[in-house]
Symmetry: C2
């Protein structure tokens, strides 16, 4: 009997909550934001807990003689960052960021992380009370002491709202094309996570909830450092054994790093899409691998490779690599992370790329067996 | 003071043990056995706890007008199974299996698993008391009830000696070439494992000890089933998101399967080289992936593909897939393993390869959030 009453009450609560639908805003309109807007737009139409219309903040630019926002709103295609894919008509491009956030109750952040501080200061006084957020931003920032700053932490600190994170083996164009993929949603507040799962999940985009936002966020940034190592291995022409070993050792150092610097990070997170799966794809075909391979082959500086190979985009592995190295040196933990330190040494201190194997071998340790002590 | 005495005693014990050196025999001389014989031969010369001479059992065959064993013993090259690599001179090819085992105290099994029962019955009455073993055999067997039989278990049952297992991301020719790789050694008896680590470990072949022989052995066989799924995905032309998702879901089902059927299997084993790293390499370039891709593209039966593509070698993924399926059906656990069941359905029941995505999607589950219940 008690249970029945409880249920009644919870349904009533739910219905009253659902009377106020969440208004979702997407902050960003690049390749990944545009791909996600297809999913978000369609799910907002499908589920009753969201308003249909999704405002998407577009950093205005001219495409020929037309504004990008106008093109998106008339042709429903982001011709610059996701050409060839139709965006849902309920996704509305808006160039004024204050307009975008001032009536939103759910903010989806998806911009390059270096633009985040400015955006946060612009919207700070316009966020509706009770709003929650999710970061789909890849990468991390760092404070003046060289310590990594989590994106979700920056959003929380600046806006004082709960912020989850979405991360996984997600090449944007493949998602836009509707190919099957998984993603991991790291959350602090379960109720927000359940709404966000409804917003992002589709039969071909499987979103798993993990109560470990920090672990998920670290996976998303540290993988790019390991991918540099994978690029070095590719450039040297080593085979699949070596590459698999590097990826595995990299995953172990990622786990150790996250657990060492932040309490509560869980082993299981590294088995999720944001962990092992994203690391695999990133090490097999991402921009960090390609640039790192070219770095060894051509001996060109990173800046030049970025300009020549990335069409204006930034290489995140190198930035994160510096930040990780600084943290390890500052905390005198560098000896515990021989692979990540060696990736830094090759990328920034002129070490030969072949030294990458020393970063792996260091995990072999001295054989402690007494049988190893006695040699012929 | 007590500690000092303890140490004295343990050194004395060690020295007395080392007066009797282990005599290592390699049972098998195929591609993998020959690659391992390079490492084993060199380490036996280097470490005092092993006799220099390593007998290697060769299933005798004629290469032109010469015996394979004679070629190995005069030219120190296994011209048929590992051509182009020099074997250490202390590795001696012996065609008589009883001769090989009758003075050995450490047996390294490295033959195709289907030959194991016969070999075990041949050597059963010739094994020296106190001998220990290690299996480098890939694959599993099954008993009359369709239940998987572990190779280490078969060796223990038949010979009544402790048997460890070695497994990892180890393409034989890359190991023979000295490329960096890792391997996992699953053990029951620590003392044997420490000797075996000394026998196998080199700076470029990092052997990690794990007290979970069953987990290691399951990794080594179940990966081949998942690799079939990876081949289906390749044949369909899906991108890296999908392949990474399949590999990750496959790893989760491998872990669940091993833990369900055998107690004591550890999560951490799946982070080792035998787990995630071997699965990655196997899904990116092994024979199971290649044949599974051809199976979808050409619609030829498995037997024909084996003959055309594998030069007489057997495809292990298909055999293991049947065994796994039988076990799941017999124990009514098939609903818990949608990916492995779907791989079977595609491989043996005429299901369209595209159904592989259903095996992945099934892990998505119904959204349990109340927010998902109310649709527009």
């Amino acid at each position: 009997m008690t249970e029945y009453v409880e249920e009644e009450r919870s349904n009533a609560l739910l219905k009253s909550e659902l009377r106020v639908k969440d208004r979702v805003a997407i902050i960003g309109s690049g390749n990944w934001a545009s791909a996600l807007s297809i999913i978000i737009g369609n799910n907002a139409k499908k589920y009753a807990c969201f308003e249909d219309t999704i405002k998407m903040w577009v950093y205005e630019e001219m495409i020929g003689d037309r504004k990008l926002s106008e093109i998106i709103n008339t042709e429903h295609e982001n011709v610059k960052y996701l050409s060839g894919f139709r965006l849902p008509e309920n996704v509305v491009a808006v160039p004024d960021i204050v307009d975008v956030v001032s009536d939103a109750t759910c903010l989806v952040f998806c911009i390059p992380h270096q633009f985040l501080p400015k955006v946060l200061s612009q919207i700070k006084h316009h966020v509706v009370p009770g709003t929650y957020a999710i970061s789909c931003i890849k990468g991390v920032d760092h404070d003046e002491n060289g310590k990594l700053r989590l994106i979700t932490g920056m959003i929380y600190d600046e806006l004082n709202i709960d912020c989850s994170i979405l991360c996984g083996a997600n090449v944007a164009n493949q998602i836009a094309a509707g190919e099957f993929a998984e993603a991991t949603l790291g959350y602090r507040v379960r109720d927000h996570a359940e709404k966000l799962q409804v917003l992002f999940n589709t039969p071909d985009f499987c979103v798993t909830l993990v109560n470990d936002p920090v672990g998920v966020e670290f996976c998303g940034s540290l993988k790019n450092v390991i991918a540099l190592g994978a690029g070095f291995v590719d450039a040297l022409g080593y085979g699949s054994n070596t590459k698999a070993a590097l990826i595995r050792i990299g995953l172990m150092e990622m786990k150790k790093f996250a657990k060492m610097f932040y309490k509560g990070v869980k082993d299981n997170t590294f088995f999720q899409s944001a962990g092992v799966a994203d690391l695999i794809t990133t090490c097999w075909g991402g921009r960090n691998v390609r640039c790192a391979e070219a770095f060894v082959r051509t001996k060109k500086p990173w800046k030049q490779l970025e300009e020549e190979m990335l069409n204006g985009q930034k290489l995140q592995g190198t930035t994160t690599c510096k930040e990780v190295y600084d943290m390890l040196i500052n905390s005198q933990m560098d000896a515990e992370f021989p692979l990540m330190v060696m990736i830094y040494n090759i990328a920034f201190r002129g070490f030969d790329a072949k030294c990458i194997l020393e970063g792996c071998r260091a995990h072999n340790g001295t054989l402690m067996s007494p049988y190893a002590m006695m040699k012929e």
